[in-house]
Every structure is written in C-alpha cells, then in structure tokens.
Amino acid sequence: MADGYTVIIAEKPDAAERIASALALNSDLKRKVEYKTTYYEFKRDGKKVVVVPALGHLYTVTQTVGGRNYYPVFTFDWAPKYEAEKGAKRTKRIIALFKKLSKNAKELINATDYDIEGSLIGYTIIKYAFNGREHEAKRMKFSTLTKEELNYAYENLLPHLDFELVEAGRTRHEVDWLYGVNLSRALTLSAFKQNGKYTTLSIGRVQGPTLKFIIQREIEIRSFVPTPYWEIKALAEIDGETYELKFEKDKIDKKVEAEKIVKDCFGKLGKIASINEKEIKRNPPEPFDLGSLQREAYRFFGFTPRRTLDVAERLYLEALISYPRTSSQKLPPTINYEGILEGLSKNPNYQKLAKLLLSQKSLKPKEGKKDDPAHPAIYPTGNLPERELTSDELKVYDLIVRRFMATFSRPAKRLSTKVSIECNGYKYFLYGGRIVDEGWFFFYKPYIEVEETILPKLRIGQEVLLKDVRYVTKFTEPPPRYNPASLLKVMEENNIGTKATRAEIIDTLYDRGYVRDEKMVATELGFKVIETLNKYCPEITSIELTRDLEEKMEKIEKGLENRENVLVEAVNQLKPVLTRLKNMEKEVGAELSEAIQAEFLRKRIVGSCPKCGTGKLIILRSRKTLKRFIGCTNFFGGKCKMALPLPQKAAVQTTEKTCKSCGWPIIIVKPRGRRPFNVCINPDCPLKQAKNQ
C-alpha cells in the first residue's frame, strides 16, 4: 500500500500527545481532529505515523440474549462500550476514527500501558476496529513516558502483542462480568419484586469478600465488651528534672495490685540497677509499589487510595514518575540511577539531596521482596515539571522523590539507653535515645518522625526519687474500623482484587451505600447484603474461593492456565448459587427491602431539629416547585415549621456530624467538578457570620 501508515494506539489522550511528541523527533508534528477526537501525525524514517488515543476501554463484555431484568445469563460477547453503557457515548466517535484509520493502516503498534488492562484495551481495538489484525500487531513496552524510553521502546518493538496478559485480562473481565451481572441482578430484582422500587444492589466476585471484611469488623465492634485494666504512671526526679518512667508491666489485671504498687512506691527512693546502651539500626525503606504509596499518602495527606492513584497517573502522564500501577519493589539499574539523580539535582527542592547521593561511591537501592514482571517500583524520572503542579500532585511527587532517594542511603543509627530502677521489689524503666547517624532519615524528612530524649549522666547505684506514682483505670478497646488505606492492605494481604481494581472496589462500597464515613462504618444495607448472601450462598463471600480464582487468573498471565477452564469453573460455581437465589427470591427480597428503606431514610436524615427538639430534620422535595429543602418531620403533625434551603445544583450528603460552633447538623455539599465541602445548615451560624465579617 503506497500511502499506508503506522498506527500507534495510546491508552489516553495525554499519553498519545506525549508519545507523538517524543517519537516525532525533528519532523513536523501535526495535530489533527476527526470525529471530535484529537490525534497526531508525523513522519519518521520516511514513514507516516499516526498516534491515536483510546479512552480506556472502548469495548466491553455484554450479554447476547435477554434484557436487563433477566438472570442467569451465561452467554456474552465483546461489544463497543457505547452499545452497552449509557455514559460511554464518546467511545463511539473514537471507534469510528479507529475504523476509518484501519483502511490504510500498514503497521499496527499497541502503545497502551504495559499491564493487563492496557494490553486488553489495545487488543480489543485491534481485533474489533482493525478487523482481526491482532496477530500482526506489535507492542511498545515502556514504564515511563520520557522521550528517551519511548524512543527506545519504539526502536525495540516486541514482535507481537502480549497475548498472555491479554488472555488474563479477557478472563478477568468475563469472570467479573458473570459474577457481577448475575449476582447484582439477583439481589436487585429480588428487592424490586418485593417492594416495587428499583434500587441497584451490586455485588461482585471481589466486592463480596471485601464487604465481608468490613462486616466482620463491624460485628466485633458492635459486640465488644470492654474489660478494665490498670496502668502505672510514674515520674522520677533526677538532678532537679522530671522524667517519665515506664512500669515493668504494661497492664495490671487487678485493681488491688495496682493500689499496692502505688502504696509501695509513691514518694519512695528507687536505685538504678543497670544502664544499658545499644545502637539500633533502621534500614532504609523499600521503594514504593502502588499499595505502599497509597498507604503512605493516606497516612501523611489523608488521600484515599483512589485519589492517590489518580494523582500518580497524572504525574505519570506528565513523564514525572514511572508507571504507578505496579506491585514491584525493585529498582533495576537499567532505569539509570545517576541520570535520574542528575535530573533531580536541577530541581532546587532536591538539589542538595541528589548531589549528596551522587557523591556516594556507588548507588545501590534497598529493594523489597515483591516483583512485577511488567514494571519496576515507582520512581521519579528526573524530568522537571513542564507546568505548575497542583497541591495534590506536589505532595505525591515529593513523597515519591524522597522515598526514591531514601532507598539509596545508608541505615539510620540510634543510640538507645535503657535505665532500670528498682523500688521496693518493683522495676521501672527510663528510656532515652538520640540519633547518632541520620542516614536515610535525612532524605525522607518530613515523612519520618524521630523522637529524641536526652538523659542526664547516670550511674549504677544512684538514688532516684519516685515523686509521683499513680494508677490509671483503662478499658480494652474494640479493634479499629477500617479506613480505605487499611482495607486496601487487607485486600492485598488476602490477594483479592488487583492493584488496578482495589481502589475502585472500595469506592463502589461507598457508592452503593454499604459503608459510610472515612472510618468505614457498615450501614444496615451493607450488613443485610452480607447476611443474606451468607445465608443463601456463603460461597459468594468466601475469601478462599475468591483468592483461589484470583490465583488461577494469575496463572493465565504466566501461561500456566487457560481462559476456558477458568470460565467453566466460574459458571459451574455460579449456576447452583443463582438457582438457589432464584428459588428464594421472595425471602431474599423481603430481607433486603427493609434494609434498603432504612438506608434510603438514613441518607435523608440530616439530624435532630434544633427548633422543636423532638423532630428530625429531613431532606424533602417541594411538590410545588420540585426544589429540595430541609424540613422537620414534625411539620406533618403541625408542630414545627422549620424549613431550610439547600443548594439545588450540587449533590448533598448527610453526615451525622454537628457544628462545633452552634451544634446544628453539618451536611456535605458536592458541586459538580469541584471538591466537596462541609457546611453547617444554620443560616445564622456564628462561624459563618465571623467568616463573612
């Protein structure tokens, strides 16, 4: 074909622009728009090349027979996303562009992200929009969007698509579809047939066990009975200074024992029995994989896993960091440590630190055990930002850069002192400690907390006055609620879900109303869904079964298992479950309907009415104007006329929190495209007035 060209498929528009700019070299890069989609055209080595973006997945799994209100469904096919999903209209134009470009496409290159999802995105486009040319397409493999790596990847193309990743991706999508569609429909339709109201109740292969973790924790918390114990608090006076001592036992089980200790030691002289000094080494941290980055970003910035992933992806698309969806904790030398540090040394924020590392004799990073065949751990590319980064981007970028540099540093050393003091047969300890070699702490600041306690000069046999000894009554506490970061860790530890899907699954639990609040509280609906599934089909929430299936899908990635076997197994697992659910539809529906109604009401209750004191404030809609407002439940009895306005264009969410200033309920307002904010519903709230002044 004389005027044939090479088509490079990118995963997203930003990636397409970066790939095109990198590969165009000195040729004239043309930005073209067709079907309202921007793509790029240039010449390289005399060949015409076009770089076209996808928009994530353009094709999806969909059923081939029956409507939406029908289950079980086991026959499916891949179809354009716009045909299967209402909100995917944009994909129609992009598919049209790919189809048009397919006519003269001489060579096809998949340059989507090198992982399961990326490989599948490229594969489905080539298979369906380029008329089944998947076996002649080539693959570009890269971990950063830097000019150098993109050019290397283009010049060293993999001769064919990564079919094992593609197969693993296809299977995962198909298995998840089978579970998700059938189980969600079973629950939704059971409830609908019972109460006549349509509420989407989703449950999936990973969602079920994940929700079960939260419910198990909720049961422990709700049925927790505290037990008392006593702690001894002691203060010693040494050379006129007061020091806090630690008693030999953390917990005293009996009150009389605690009383006796206080009686025996209060105001008495103790004697130093021993002084031990020890140097404690703390090794540098491992480089970030996605999970550890998400946990650390939650710890320091309060970012949810989803938010961190979104920010990291933007940094990747800006060629500032490597591909973030990785489970690797390895930094191979091929990433060019020196080059990265030299790049970072051009950034005034990291100049001093980077130069310090470059002056080391050799550069060897501390690495973790986890590996990922597709990508290394997350690392900065060393490129300077081409635009001003947002506050979120700056935070995550800084965390990644400092973590990367810390891995090349030496261990930190702390000199720890333990002084043992004896008093009337009881032992107390005085701890001191100071840093003798900052090591990697220097690079990882401010993300490391170091406590120093300098002790005075002490000698064995020296007398010490225990000037205050008392006991404090304490009670055991229930286990903490999960937060998005700790739930993500449990999912990782149990090997359920993938690095790419976990954050989204956690979001879905919130969206469906199964959990609420940052410290995840299971709602009655979430509770009921798990209770119902445990009763009628416990295998759906079984962590072991989910993990087993997950492991089989991982084997497909390695070529050790095949798609058909896994699909047959999934269908065989589902068939009896769905038959059971269908037979018990009435019972399932009755159990869920009550919880749906309770959840619907809970979402509308804003709090207690501050005017009448007995009613509840609730979100209502005016029959006349159809506008939303807050009214009191006592209005209907004619007892209270409390009414407050609500924003009409933004979504509103109740919180169960009250204003610190006036005690009125607080709601969350979620304007479209802007960050949500908390607001007190009291129009005369003193805080609001103070702000206005």
């Binding site: 049925s223 927790f224 009975v225 009150k255």
Partner: protein
C-alpha cells in the same frame, strides 16, 4: 398464633430469633457479657447489676452490648 410469632422476634430489635429472647447478634452480645463479667469479677469486686451499669456507660462498649445491658437493667427494674 400471634403469640408464637412474637416469641420468634428479638425483644430488642424485632429481628428474627431462634425461639429465644434475642436475635443472633444480641444473643452473641449477651454471651459475651456473661463471659467478660467473669473477667471483671477477677479484677474487682462487682455485682452483675453494677457491671451492667458500668458497661452501659462505657464509651468502648459495642452498640449491641449496650442495648442488651440496658434491656436487662430495665427488665429487672
């Protein structure tokens, strides 16, 4: 017939019971109360009633346990 129906509901939450006073969750909480009461008695001198009162006002107490403690205290007057 109606009486029998009532007997199968939890006295606290009206949830399904297996014939006893409580549903599965309130029953679990009651059993835990009995079990932990023994630990309290080993730690200090305390009666069942005093224990329930302490449990009811303790902020660490689970919501189901608090409901059971309140129910027993109210029932015994």
């Amino acid at each position: 017939m109606e009486k029998k129906h009532k007997e199968h509901k939890c006295v606290i939450c009206s949830g399904e019971s297996d014939g006893g006073e409580f549903c599965v969750w309130h029953k679990l909480s009651y059993e835990k109360l009995e079990e932990i009461f023994k630990l309290w008695q080993e730690s200090m001198e305390i009666s069942w009633r005093e224990f329930l009162e302490e449990i009811r006002k303790n902020p660490n107490t689970g919501v189901w346990v608090r409901e059971v403690a309140s129910y027993i205290l109210k029932k015994k007057g």
